[in-house]
């Protein structure tokens, strides 16, 4: 079985975000980029599935040359092959999904894993869009995954609980924290990844459906009031919450 994993290269969650002079994009100066945290669960699940059933794994990313760092990390964790769809232009979610779907089709992968969202634009829809473009069955936000023959059973996180969802291959699963414990790359894996080729392709251009008009920082919140420094401040705090903020 061919298993594909799609990953993105994103600013570290600890990074401060500033906006560049275009007013539509972030300023990358001083920002460290990492493999999207949710994609580590996708890589791990692909590796576990291959270990259990055999097959071949491929990692795909759409982005600039910088994304190679995240592709190398996936290779170091144990993924067999890597493809970079080289494009540094802004694409909306649907345009990203079209490029990824095209490559997944080319790879002939019948099982695909995505992180449930990338922590940059936080869309959380590229997996579902890609799946529908491919005509695959999609289960999003999976916290468990079991494959038997053609049949897949996952638990997906919903408000106040979990849904047990069943479907068949070909399928695309988006992964949530809690699904597995991503492995660390071994030294041997890191050395091997350095030697592996990352296949570069130029994806077809497609028109965007969604346009960014402006990017802005949220209005800075003014620090409020320190009501007190010990237990004696509690009655006053509760009074403020009731009478001033009117929230309890």
């Amino acid at each position: 079985m061919k298993i594909a994993v799609c990953v993105s290269h994103v600013p570290d969650t600890a990074a401060k975000i500033n906006i560049n002079s275009s007013g539509k994009e972030i300023d990358p100066a001083g920002v460290t980029y990492i493999l999207n945290p949710y994609d580590e669960f996708a890589i791990e699940e692909a590796l576990k599935t291959k270990e259990k059933f055999g097959g071949e794994t491929v990692v795909i990313s759409l982005g600039s040359d910088a994304s190679k760092e995240s592709l190398r990390k996936a290779l170091a964790m144990g993924i067999d092959n890597a493809v970079l769809l080289k494009d540094a232009q802004y694409r909306d979610s649907l345009s990203v999904a079209k490029a990824l779907a095209e490559e997944i089709k080319f790879q002939n992968a019948e099982l695909v894993f995505f992180g449930k969202q990338s922590v940059d634009y936080d869309n959380s829809i590229v997996g579902q869009l890609t799946s529908e473009l491919l005509g695959y069955n999609c289960i999003s936000v999976a916290v468990s995954f079991a494959l038997e023959g053609n049949n897949i059973v996952c638990e997906r996180e919903i408000e106040g609980g979990k849904e047990v969802v069943e479907t068949n291959l070909p399928a695309l699963i988006t992964t949530q924290k809690g699904l597995n414990e991503p492995r660390y790359a071994s030294l041997k894996g890191i050395m091997a990844a350095k030697k592996k080729e990352i296949v570069e392709k130029i994806p077809a251009t497609t028109s965007n459906y969604v346009e960014v008009v402006t990017m802005k920082k949220p209005t800075a919140k003014q620090p409020g009031r320190i009501v007190g420094t010990d237990v004696n401040a509690v009655p006053e705090l509760v009074r403020l919450l009731r009478e001033e903020a009117k929230v309890i």
Partner: protein
């Protein structure tokens, strides 16, 4: 552009979800500004109170009914809704960014060939266009986006749009019995976390961090949450340490929340936590360290020991409630 709007209604246990009512109100507000019309569609078995959606500004609800549709099925729901939208020429679709909304909306977007904006926190009119604001980087920045394709889907963050008080108007409810169903993906079972409110849906949240010193002390977080009717949340540090389940995590790799009240207990306020809760309407911080970043965004704070302050808060609120 015809401005024919459709709101997708979500139900759980026959009840319309609050976030769907918020979406109805938001869509009818925008529709009235653009001189458009707005209807709703629901999928499921029996659903209570569909006619009451008229009180939030819509004239008609079409209910696509089959008892086998009680639980969500991505394949069945998305084909029914997409076919309904196409047959009736709706050009703009609204749905809440719930777990179901985020799963369903992108699939419908592909079927309708529509542009999609997810997790919108405000909708404004610019000329004849809808400008949607959505947080990115878990709220460290915001973008205003415009959907430029003829068909559009707006997925609205729960708990942000105010549904307000309904009028007495009733909507016309048309029930369509659905015969053939496509269950390529099916929810077999819903496992509810016992009696717990979810942080993503809660009006109030009480969260605990490292300052709670161990999982054995989280009963304090739960007790305070319990007496005010809040959900319990947690910081990434305590989830990573295995003290609390991931479903409770607030922040950039957890849930982004905007409740009316957010009480942070022993949370210092790492940047990824602040990003996830900074849009809460009222923030209270209890922390021993007066320099903790959480105090920079808190409306009210007490610099002190959570193990003294929290029991006193519980007592004080109990006293007032009785």
């Amino acid at each position: 552009m015809t401005n024919k709007f459709l709101v997708i209604i979500e139900q759980r246990n026959k009840q319309i979800k609050k976030s769907s009512i918020e979406a109805v109100k938001a869509a009818s507000d925008i529709a009235s500004k653009l001189h458009g019309t707005v209807e709703a569609v629901s999928v499921g078995g029996d659903i209570d109170g569909l006619a009451l959606l008229g009180g939030y500004g819509i004239s008609k609800v079409t209910h696509l009914k089959n008892d086998a549709l009680l639980n969500y099925s991505a394949s069945a729901y998305t084909s029914l809704i997409s076919n309904f939208a196409i047959e009736n020429n709706f050009d703009t679709v609204f749905i809440s960014a719930s777990a179901m909304g985020k799963d369903l909306a992108p699939i419908v977007a592909v079927k309708l060939d529509a542009g999609i904006a997810v997790d919108c926190v405000s909708l404004n009119i610019e000329g004849n266009d809808i400008l949607a604001t959505r947080p990115i980087f878990a709220g460290k920045a915001l973008i205003d986006v415009k959907i430029i394709s003829p068909k559009k889907i707006f997925v609205l963050r729960p708990n942000v749009f105010n549904a307000g008080q309904p009028s007495a108007a009733l909507a016309e409810v048309v029930t369509v019995n659905i015969e053939s169903l496509e269950f390529k993906i099916k929810v077999n079972e819903i496992k509810k976390s016992e009696g717990k409110l979810d942080v993503a849906e809660a009006d109030m949240i009480v969260s605990g961090g490292r300052g709670m010193k161990g999982p054995e002390h989280f009963h304090l977080v739960e007790e305070l949450a319990g007496i005010i009717g809040a959900a319990s949340g947690a910081s990434r540090a305590v989830v990573d340490a295995g003290w609390r389940p991931h479903a409770e995590q607030v922040g950039q790799t957890g849930k982004t929340v905007s409740p009316n009240l957010y009480i942070a207990l022993g949370i210092s306020g790492a940047i990824q936590h602040l990003a996830g809760m900074r849009s809460s309407k009222c923030i209270v911080a209890i922390n021993k360290d007066k320099d903790a970043p959480i105090f920079q965004i808190a409306d009210y704070g007490i610099v002190g020991d959570v193990f003294e302050i929290v029991p006193a808060m519980i007592e004080e609120i109990k006293k007032i409630n009785s």
